[in-house]
């Protein structure tokens, strides 16, 4: 009986998830990588779909929108519901808009179908890293010098996959102050890849010798050059329909503790320390995105975006 008890259980789970996210900090919490976060979010939404009471597709979308407002990752699921509805009606995609009113009011959308579609999304999420890694051989050639920065699981898998057939050299910038680059380099050298760790300051000096830069990303924004090609490994779930209004809004600043320890004393009151974790890379500087469904130019991102998210769901 999905009585009120179940619903409170659900909100409890949602809230626990949210506070975990907020406290996630520098990745010390239970949610470490973005892939886990995406999977967790989708699983949660599936749970909501399964447990919450909803009569029509409109209700369900409203529910998910409500929860999603706090999670800002629900767009894919909303799109799925729309598509699923469209399919169940036998309508084509174009008719979607016209039937919107009907969609919001009528029933005729079976829970199983929606959940099945969400499950598909989950499977897709699980396989993203592998899918991206599979394309490695197309992009990395023998005797190339590849540079990467910090640690990204996707990039790591990508490079390891390439290393099965090709022989190349990887230069890892350590990415101070957290120095995840060290971990990355250890993992790569374990896989038998020739690896060099450099300080962040040395990037400029080394750049002339580098054939390609391959990095991971936190988010690919909706609008999304140098002589060295920059390749970004980004699974589809990293796509965000948001445009960068103010560059800074997408930065994540953490406690300056790592840069200047709190124990320093008097100097702290005299300086301002900023410790950004991510940087904004202009789309012009990016040569290619490699996602789990293939390689894309930055200018093509808008198209992917419309495939993945319904324009009405951009603002939750």
């Amino acid at each position: 009986m999905p009585g009120p008890y179940k619903e409170t259980d659900l909100t409890e789970r949602v809230e626990a998830f949210l506070s975990d996210l907020k406290r996630g900090g520098t990745g010390a919490g239970p949610l470490r990588g973005s892939a886990e976060t995406a999977r967790e979010t989708t699983a949660l939404l599936r749970k909501i779909t399964a447990q919450a009471r909803w009569g029509s597709a409109g209700d369900l979308m409203e529910i998910i929108r409500k929860e999603g407002r706090r999670m800002t990752a629900a767009q894919r699921v909303l799109k799925i519901i729309r598509e699923e509805y469209a399919r169940s009606r036998g309508n084509s995609e174009e008719a979607d808009q016209e039937s919107l009113h009907k969609l919001l009011t009528s029933g005729g959308l079976s829970e199983e179908n929606v959940i099945e579609a969400i499950n598909e999304l989950l499977t897709e999420l699980e396989g993203t890293t592998d899918n991206i890694a599979m394309q490695a051989l197309e992009h990395i050639h023998s005797n190339e010098v590849i540079m990467t920065i910090g640690r990204s699981r996707t990039v790591e898998a990508f490079l390891k996959d390439a290393a099965r057939k090709r022989k190349f050299h990887v230069i890892v910038a350590e990415c101070a102050p957290f120095c995840q680059g060290h971990e990355m380099a250890t993992n790569l050298s374990k896989a038998g890849i020739e690896t060099t760790v450099i300080t962040d300051a040395a990037i400029f000096a080394v750049m002339s010798r580098v054939n390609k830069v391959i990095i991971g990303t936190q988010t690919v924004l909706a609008n999304g050059a140098s002589p060295t090609p920059l390749i970004v490994c980004a699974p589809m779930f990293k796509l965000s329909p948001q445009f960068p209004n103010e560059e800074d809004t997408f930065h994540k600043f953490v406690s300056p503790h790592e840069v200047l320890p709190f124990t320093e004393g008097e100097i702290l009151s005299k300086v301002n320390v900023h410790c950004p974790v991510f940087d904004y890379v202009l789309p012009e500087l990016i040569t290619l995105f490699i996602s789990n469904i293939g390689g894309h130019a930055p200018s093509y991102i808008y198209r992917l975006m419309s495939e993945l998210y319904h324009p009405e769901d951009h603002e939750l």
Partner: protein, 709 residues
Amino acid sequence: MASKGGKQSRSASGLSGRKGAGDQEEEDQPLQAVLVADSFNRRFFPVTKDQPRALLPLGNVAMIDYTLEFLTSTGVQETFVFCCWMASKIKAHLQKSKWCRPSSPNTVHIITSDLYRSLGDVLRDVDAKSLVRSDFVLVYGDVVSNIDISQALQEHRHRRKMDKNISVMTMIFKESSPGHRSRCEEDDVIVAVDSKSQQILHYQKTQGLKKLQFPMNIFHSGSDEFEIRHDLLDSHISICSPQVAELFTDNFDYQTRDDFVRGLLVNEEILGNQIHVHVTKDGYGVRVSNLLMYDSVSSDLVRRWVYPLTPEANFTDQEGHSCTYSRHNVYRASGVSLGHGSQMEENVLIGCDTSIGANCYISNSVIGDNCIIGDNVVLDHAYIWNHVHIASNVEIIQSVICDKAEVKEGVTLKKQCVLAYDVVIGPNISLPEGTVVSMHHPEEEEEEDDDEFLSDDAEVGHRSDKTKQKVFNPAEVGAEGKGYIWKASSLDDTEEEELSQCLWGLVLNPDPESDSEDSETDGPDDPVIPSPEMDDVKVFHMEVLGTLQRGLEENISCDNLVLEINSLKYAYNISLKEVMQILTRVVLEYPFQQQGSHLTPSQYVALLLPLLKKWAPVFKNYVKRAQDHLDCLSAFEEHFLEQESHWAAMVKVLMNMYELEILEEEMILRWFSQGATGDKSRQLRKNQGLQKFIQWLEEAEESSEEDGE
């Protein structure tokens, strides 16, 4: 169904939760916390006259929310909030907050009483109602922290497991060098810590003292390594065992945690309780104990030191309180309007629906919700709470302006001004440094509320020269002003209490010389540990000698001797360890005392052995724990180091003590292998007889082990 029941009891009210406590003896007890939502002092007066301190906004969020968020994120599942002053307001706040939602992972019980006068009262009540079942976290309602205490908790539990009920409390300190902005000068402490066990040996508030005294016993404590640290910032977070509450009940004179720590350290040997520290380098943990701390914690918060508790995280989950974060630590909530040419330089937080006029210059400030700020306003280190109106051409530097206050045109607030609730200032007036304005008349509160707060330190605002007039003085607050000046400036104030009481803390007085003088004459905060005077120890030494002599002459039983020595111990305030050492020395020196120092080793032994036999019960009474054995042995060693000619007698005496079961072989072996501290004592250990004896002991132990198998 079973899980359903569990859920209900978790979110049940305080009463039924307590009732269920008895039968709910689970394997892993949920972590509990006691949150004291009252400061029991009037440091924030007169601001706290209208709002309890725990609800004062810090970065536009009530302080208690930070504390609760900290507790929740460290895994506390049940929190008891104790309120006294304005309890109903705190209660109302909490009931509205996310902590009281049924989905909250941390169940909050609110316990109110007007009778709480101190932390001691609260903990006595905890004990009386037997609220805590296992180790709990003790914090104040004004602690802002993101320290991960799980490691400290683990260490604490481990210690509790190792030797049952010895360690009662673990205090959490944050490492930060002196002069650190977030160090509260009033809370500066010198702590002597055993480096290995992290046990506190000595704890003293420095209060600007230039001379510090350490009791001798920390130097001859059993451990060979200890640290004296001044680089610690007291986070006011402590992990306590349920015994702490019991100890507060047993000692009704304990008011504060300092009393408790002091009491426990003085009586350590009697009660056998110990306090440990956990020093953390990471994380942030500071108590907002005065306005100076309020200033520094606010700016730390805005500069993201408390990450992930940042203003834009909106961890309290309030509607419409989310804000955006942009370059140079500028946070803007929704609905903020900024006039043309206005600059937000850096470290600025602006609450929702606040409008700011043109050509303003704002830096290092926090502005609350629904404020209206005019044109050409300069704000630096200004803390402006909610619904404040500030007219044009105003300059505010390092000041606090409470809810619904109004600052009219052309007003200048110099450093460290405070405008309490509903105050109106101006127009065209400049308030001197350190002005405090409130709608409450200073006299009026003195009459009415004196018993409302327990003044830990002293009364505030004791001024007989203050006129009793109850009209606003336009010369002080401006032509249209409303409010009474509380204190013109503290600089001309010579009252010591006044200084330590003032809102902004000790730093107000820029002269370090008079600062330290003030603290020295500070009555209630005198040297925290009454360190035993050397003279006392000497007198005690003589008295013990006299007692033993008399006991020998009059043939007094050993039980009575123990009683007499115990009473002497209290009379001279001697630690148990010193008793042990003095007793050992007295007995060993006894033959010399009686017959002069020309005795040969064999004569000495002949005289000493009967005495040892006679007084063995006295020794056994004191020498119990492992540490006692080592203390006794170190006194033994000291004696023989002074009497080099009698080393031949040493083995016999030691052997005798072993045979009388005063000392255990294990401890003798440990002393022998570890105790060497200097060249001479190493030489002493090379003594042939001693080595033989040790060898014999080792063999005996081996053979006994073999027997055991």
